[in-house]
Symmetry: C2
Subunit: 436 residues, 2 copies
Amino acid sequence: MTEHRTLRVALLGAGSVGSQVARLLREHGDDLSERSGARLELAGILVRDIDAPRDVELPRELLTTDAEQLILGADIVIELMGGIEPARSYVLQAIRGGADVVTGNKALLATHGAEIFEAADQVGASVSYEAAVAAAIPIIRPLRDSLAGDRIERIFGIVNGSTNFILDKMDREGLDAAEAQRIATELGYLEADPTLDLEGYDAAQKAAILASLAFHTRVSLDDVHREGIESVTADMIEDARRAGSVIKLLAICERIAADDDGDDAVSVRVYPALISREHPLAAVHGGNNAVFVEAEAAGPLMFYGAGAGGAQTASAVLGDVVSAARRHLAGGVGVGESARQNRSVAPIARITTRYQITLEVADQPGVLAAVAGVLGEQGVSIATALQTVEREDSAVARIVIGTHRASEKALSATVARLAANPAVGRVVSVLRMEGE
Amino acid sequence: MTEHRTLRVALLGAGSVGSQVARLLREHGDDLSERSGARLELAGILVRDIDAPRDVELPRELLTTDAEQLILGADIVIELMGGIEPARSYVLQAIRGGADVVTGNKALLATHGAEIFEAADQVGASVSYEAAVAAAIPIIRPLRDSLAGDRIERIFGIVNGSTNFILDKMDREGLDAAEAQRIATELGYLEADPTLDLEGYDAAQKAAILASLAFHTRVSLDDVHREGIESVTADMIEDARRAGSVIKLLAICERIAADDDGDDAVSVRVYPALISREHPLAAVHGGNNAVFVEAEAAGPLMFYGAGAGGAQTASAVLGDVVSAARRHLAGGVGVGESARQNRSVAPIARITTRYQITLEVADQPGVLAAVAGVLGEQGVSIATALQTVEREDSAVARIVIGTHRASEKALSATVARLAANPAVGRVVSVLRMEGE
């Protein structure tokens, strides 16, 4: 067997992912050497408290609280601390010190990606982050490498396992949102502070990362139109179920037609939407993730797997470590994150999609005509309309309208008019319909 | 923008994939330079006949019949000729001349992979072949790079679009095999000589390639247990449909427990099998492909997309070309195909799986007991048994038995005994049941 050069690996963070990375680095040492061409020596593990109790036993002599010293001597730095600081400073320090960086930190990349990739470009270092999106599912590398000779048109998928678990529970067991969230928390699908998941921040961070990579531009969290699942009720899910649909929290990144200035733009958005039960994404249950990628030559591709988990995410980290090691040995420069196509991010008002509008109306003649009239005035075209009376003795009817593609702008105006119309008792819900 | 070094690309073959590669290389030139760091110059296209009519217009001055000369001056050689010779000689010549090779030639890799990868290792060249399996679906790179830090346990999927198209047509439209094949031929899913697809050779070539890569060993076409779809009848598909299953041609590569010598072995096999209609693979329609990969840390992953097509396959080729260009610029050695874990390939007799046995028997008392007795003698345990009489006036009954896991050896012995049993009129079918 060949004599392998040794590369020193610094691990920042020993949480659920970090501890699995440490385990796999030691257990699969020979395989990793064979595949990377280097002996990967775990030089140290940065922790906050050396004496803290841990699930996975870590060699005490590797634990350190001295980040500077650990990073200084490293060839490859694995950042799994999460959060912005001190992760950002450590990553920049590692890059400037000549190390290659592997990170799973989606918050950091979605907010400070530009700064980090520029720093890496300046010194020719690589920054890899397969673990930042969809855990073990290979999605970053396929977008960056496999489709490097193609033109990506659209990315469309379920990238947050926690909210998918909740929506799936509600759909399959008829639970209300609070009960589904309680179970998700118990089973560890939600953090103590569930805001990041429920309000769509986590999915929006991932969408920003995917859009930046796919469209060779720079999209940050603030650019992403974001709606969470707080507004999704058991009734909405039940209505969807009866109509052969399911509600999923979707992340969508797509090229959109040139605006008035003639430049192609991109749209990056996260919201709960109706999709047909026939669509493959409808079959993504529990905490799983699935991402559709549509490219010009390749056509539609789908990537599916677990969306979270310590071991799963560690698998993605180690794949990146092996590539970083090969690159470190070969020298040369890392694959830069090209942002040369400085595309504008279109506001949500420019997006067109199909909508389902559910209204409670007075059960009297002429109401459907009045509602249809409001849509017509705004140029929103009706694809399907269904009027039902809930109970025979009720004076209230329900109208469910499915529209053809319409702009968000026209739709908002329509909904405002409908809400103000005396024949309309209540706008029950407005949902986008995706996946066609 | 940075000044890019020029790399000379030789394209061998201008068929449906080659012509699309030529088109994309020219149309996406700037993007490819940006992503690879090199200007990719199409130096020439090897064709058999310069004057042959072509679907895609190719610049006449690039066409050549002089392979030696074209390869001699190339930095990257793309081999899309198919077949063993002269493709093998050209690929070896390219490697020895210092070029990196990109190929979509599954027949070549499945039969002469060892020779080619050894030649590449000797000079530090890279050989990439994403296009050889499942067209544009990224599967080679995820196995080689993304899962490089994990341990792959099993690969399981539909890797031949032509047979999937036929089986899907038979299932969804109730066609018989001949009619479905006729349509597949008309639509271009089958070649003039359909043997490679129908008899499972194409799927077996891909299985050999996937198993070699995933298990770091060398599996060639001859090692693969291969059964095609010739034996699959409309009746079998209809029976499966009624029972909530579907028949798919599956390629399966898996680690199996140590044999008597204590060494881990692998099993690589291709055959039509029953899977539940609930299984995601059951939803793979038409000419699509889908591959499940189960790894120790990552858990199950699925990759889905078109299984064939000129543009689709060209997308995979160009992804490899971009990586080859980066590597060529960086210098250093290519990622070798590690075959150090020289695992034995287990004979099919050692494999255990579940089976469904369908028998025609005399409709008289005691037959089910006799049949059950034969299975018991051979140690094959019954999971489900169903006896039906087709028509009231018939003297013939049908027995469908689902077994628990049993070895192929025990199963073969059982079927032989059943066929010889006077109570059994006919063994209608024996199918493996997979996907649990």
